[in-house]
């Protein structure tokens, strides 16, 4: 009735997307983008810097380098709060880290990621309400 049946059908699909292997060419392209954008990010400020860090973070995420992705996406939100793909990816990565911490019984990391997820809710509230 509530569509729980769909959940089971979804899970294998999710695993498939996680296991997607990017081609060598794409990988090279992403790495080039990252190194190029990193230099740009150092010179930019405010909204522009946030955008560049978001692109870097999304590229790292595609490469499967989650910790680097989180680092860049956090820098993006620090430079300028926004609710684009960077935000959504960061929340998803936090939640993944939270789930890993819960499985490993790592209370400290668990609390860190729960708190970070709370902060993401605050960011969403503030951006929607137009707080600068």
């Amino acid at each position: 009735m509530f569509g729980f049946g769909k959940k089971k059908a979804k899970e294998p699909k999710k695993q498939i997307t996680e296991e997607v292997v990017i081609t060598a060419k794409r990988k090279e392209e992403l790495l080039r983008t990252i190194s190029f954008k990193k230099e740009e990010a150092n010179q930019a400020v405010g909204e522009e810097q946030a955008k560049i860090y978001e692109e870097i973070g999304l590229a790292f995420n595609e490469l499967g380098e989650e910790d680097h992705a989180i680092d860049s996406l956090e820098k993006s939100i620090q430079a300028k709060k926004s609710l684009g793909n960077g935000y959504k990816t960061l929340l998803r990565l936090y939640n993944k880290k939270r789930a890993e911490a819960a499985k490993e019984n790592d209370e400290e990391s668990l609390q860190i990621y729960l708190k970070k997820m709370d902060q993401m809710m605050q960011v969403s509230k503030e951006v929607t309400r137009g707080v600068r």
Partner: protein, 429 residues
């Protein structure tokens, strides 16, 4: 024996002390250091006392507002504020200890249900659980439940809601976010699903369905930037207009030497001050308990889906939030005028509920019924979330609550469950 009696009669009757002792027990069970146990317990006690102080300020302002409204409009004007209900229940009605214990019981039942059933949702919005605990305790008490039964029944019903609401919303959340890892934990879900249903019925279908996200709308709601500022924007005109209708002669009897309109202005700000203080108390009160419980819940149910507060959906459909806020406000204003015609109290519109509940409902409406669904569904949603709290007013009045009613519709539905089902059943047997 004298010592035991002293403890029972003088210490455990103080709700603030009992609540601090509960927090202390929780902290000791988590093997925290002595320093953390002491500071955590004291902060919890401070939180409760601050909350009570906020409630006293709110009650003072609401009592005044109730008098001028009745004089001015010859009917009861109710301010929807779950904070005011919580404060009065914990403080003036002396249900603080029961609400705190029910709050813990809801967490425990949530963990049990998530651990042993396939509905793996852990509700992470601590404040919403406190509002739910308030409503189940108040209405359980009204239905005649006392002591441990009051707490266990409230904990069970609250725990079921904490799992069922994210579960009901999840098929929609999955479509909105495109993933199944995160759930929605906000006790306005019945309203969201209601709007989704209405939008599906009346909205655009198939290829004709156009999303509000394709429209160009002002990106931000700047007048809502600050919670307290937006409360003031509503309360100041509400109080001043009401005082004007009550008339100088009557209103001056309440305002003493101060000009009656100036007095109304100051009282409207007092209401906001009360909410500010009360919520500061809630933050202190929950600051120690909630992180600990969330940690325990997540470790006991490692494959749980965290149910997060409603802003989790805002990034996926920002235009729908604005449309939802505006249409829900329109629906609430319509209900404000229509409900008294049917003998119900006049429920004044609440800007914050319209924003958070209305905005999120807008996302649901847009999903199932496109632009037309979001607009018509939003207006009906506004009416719906004003109608339900209006049904509680008589009970609140008879229990001695001053001029306020609850807001979040899931907590209102839990209350109606007590009023319409559990209460009559208890009386029958």
């Amino acid at each position: 024996m004298g010592v035991v009696n002293f403890i029972i009669e003088n210490i455990l009757t103080q709700a603030s002390v009992t609540i601090a002792l509960i927090a202390m027990l929780g902290l000791i069970l988590q093997k925290k250091s002595t320093g953390q146990v002491i500071s955590g317990s004291l902060k919890t006690m401070l939180g409760f006392m601050v909350l009570s102080a906020g409630s006293t300020i709110i009650v003072g302002s609401l009592t005044y507002f109730g008098q001028i409204f009745t004089e001015g409009f010859h009917m009861q004007g109710i301010i929807p504020s779950i904070e005011a209900i919580n404060g009065q229940a914990m403080n003036e009605l002396g249900l603080g200890r029961d609400i705190a214990l029910t709050f813990l019981a809801i967490f425990v039942f949530n963990i049990i249900i998530a651990r042993f059933t396939r509905w793996k949702y852990i509700f992470l919005t601590g404040q919403a659980i406190l509002w739910m605990a308030t409503m189940t305790t108040v209405f359980g008490y009204f239905a005649g439940l006392r002591g441990i039964v009051l707490i266990l029944v409230g904990g069970f019903i609250g725990g079921v809601f904490a799992v069922a609401m994210p579960a009901i919303a999840q098929p929609f959340v999955r479509k909105i976010t495109g993933m199944d890892d995160i759930a929605l934990g906000h006790f306005c879900t019945i309203g969201y699903v209601f709007e989704a249903g209405v939008a599906k019925l009346v909205g655009e279908k198939g290829e004709k369905k156009k999303s509000v996200e394709d429209l160009k709308l002002p990106a931000q709601l700047e007048f809502l930037q600050d919670t307290y500022l937006s409360l003031m924007v509503v309360m100041i005109p509400l109080y001043i207009i009401t005082a004007a209708f009550a008339g100088k002669e009557f209103a001056s009897t309440l305002s003493g030497d101060t000009n009656y309109l100036m007095f109304a202005f100051i009282q409207s700000i007092q209401f906001v001050v009360g909410v500010y203080v009360l919520l500061a108390g809630v933050r202190l009160l929950l600051g120690e308990i909630v992180p600990a419980f969330r940690g325990i819940a997540m470790r006991l149910v490692p494959n749980a889906k965290p149910a997060l507060d409603c802003p989790v959906l805002f990034p996926y459909s920002p235009n729908a939030v604005i449309v939802g806020f505006i249409t829900t406000t329109i629906g609430s204003v319509i209900a404000m005028f229509v409900l008294p015609v049917f003998g119900l109290a006049m429920i004044l519109p609440g800007m914050l509920t319209a924003f958070f509940a209305g905005g999120t409902a807008g996302i649901f409406g847009n999903l199932t019924g496109g632009r037309r669904g979001a607009i018509i569904g939003g207006i009906v949603h506004g009416f719906f979330i004003t109608l339900l709290p209006a049904l509680l007013v008589t009970t609140f009045n008879s229990m001695g609550f001053v001029n306020a009613t609850a807001t979040d519709v899931d907590t209102v539905s839990a209350a109606l469950l007590y009023a319409w089902l559990i209460g009559p059943l208890l009386k029958a047997f």
